[in-house]
Amino acid sequence: MSAPATSPLDHPEVRQASAWRYIAGFITSMVLMQAALMVTLHQHLPYQEYVFTTGGLALVALLCQAALFFGLDISRAQIWKSVSLVLTIPLFILSVGLTVWMFQSLAQRTMIMPVTTVQPTLLE
């Protein structure tokens, strides 16, 4: 947490606002989403590779937003936000990953799908 400022407008949370960072964050996010859309529309990749490609583009977009929009770094003003985010990310991964894994196991043992309804999903 940072030292107290005399005027609210001198506070580090206010001073960290940056036009170039916000514009760069907007442009980077848009370019990455358009790239993901191009990959989706052309559909040249097998399902697993497609998921990794678009997921990778999303991950880069999220990292760009963390740095350029939120301004997260290890400075005195931002360090505790960065630390709390890093400590929470494993909870996100465990929540989604374990849920999908459990239901994938369940689906393999109990859900006999007709061939006509089979479609690639994360459960496969």
Binding site: S2, L9, M33, A58
Partner: protein
Amino acid sequence: MSTDAPPTDATKLFHPHFAGHDQISARTLGFWLYMLSDALIFTALFAAYAVLNNPMSAAGGPIAPQVVNPVEGLWQTYAVLGSVATYSLGTVALKSGNKAGVMLGIILSIVLALVFLGFETHDLLGLLAKGDGPARSGYLSAFFILIATHGLHMVFGIIWMLVMLVQIPTMGFTANVVARLINLRMFWQFQATIWVLVYIYVYMIGAY
């Protein structure tokens, strides 16, 4: 704890009205922690969506490829990212105490957020008109709840912005108003982050 003793560095947090206490930092960190817990709600919804985006959970109804259109979703992505960018740029004007600049950023942000919500409402109402509402199947329940939860966050953000449009001219840039503007910036940027995940996972991977 005794309140007679003057606060030290270790006990300042227990004296919220102490003049040396950094209220803006305390409030922004507290709000950040709230947002992380809010993100866990979305995590649960994404987990439910991952499980239910399956023909066996469709009850004969549509699943993602028949429900979402990634090209239309890109326009929503433009709108929400543009809204976040304009609000964030408004807070650049806050550095110089420029009330008109901050309020212009908020107004542009509200307009783009309404465009986003217009697309979203159109999509959901279209599904309802075809009889594919949230009660139709497990998949549609997960889809509606995920999309609507994000949409409700956007609505709440718009209400918060309208409140700030009143408080900025009447109260000025006091410590309370500045803390609210900074927290609202984080909240609004958080909506763009969630939307990127929704767009990639629901509109793209779901449409494969």
